[in-house]
Amino acid sequence: MTSLALACVLMSVGLYGLLTRRDIIAVLASIEVMLGGAQLLLAAYSASVTLASAAQGVTLIVLATIAAEAAVGLALLVALVHRGRTRTDQIEEVRG
């Protein structure tokens, strides 16, 4: 119960940051907090199952996916900074 409550608090904190922050890097960090909360829940409840080793493997794969998300997000951030845009409300077009 306490692990579940902690994960829900982390998800709420991350969502609040995602909704209120306008700087792209703060939005990315808020997404990291939300994903961290989800990953904590996965780890907390998979520790008690019989196939805990497989659960740890799944959590590792999720960790790799989140790292890939962070890499692409930060590359987009650097590309936007080169164009002089650091806030989400300054992005007006999504074009390749």
Binding site: M11, V13, G17, A29, A43, A54, Q56, I61, V78, R87
Partner: protein, 162 residues
Amino acid sequence: MSVTLLWWALAALTVAGAVAVIATREMMRMLLGLGAFLLGLAGFYAWYGFELLAVAELFVYVGGVLVLFLFAITSMGRDREGRSMERRLDLGALGISAGMGLVLLVALQSTLPAAPTAVGASVEDTAAALLGPLLPYFELAGVVLLVALVAALAIIGREDAR
């Protein structure tokens, strides 16, 4: 008793780091908060008996992603003004996020087991699981990482070509 105390200390570190991420104006302080949050997560993994996951969290996040964030921040602006961020209190967003947290808590409380007990998993068993039944997903994670790497290079390379 001391184990419970350790759990609450980790929870305090993790939540304080998360709050620092959304509440600070300075980017470097936000990064420090994110570092504390990630260290707290790694501590939780070790507490649940997932030593491999705790070490991977330290290497990949604290050692990799956090440095990547630091690199992005240093490339953003040299002056102090360029590294400060807007911070505002939005009661609507507060209500939405608190409501989502409550809905998650109520929805998951009925489906998840009551209290997880730390069993843990050895590195050998995890390796056997990753290279056994989880092999397709493990390979898929590798492909996702490769595609992300190529995408990041393509995004940065296109900006440099302009």
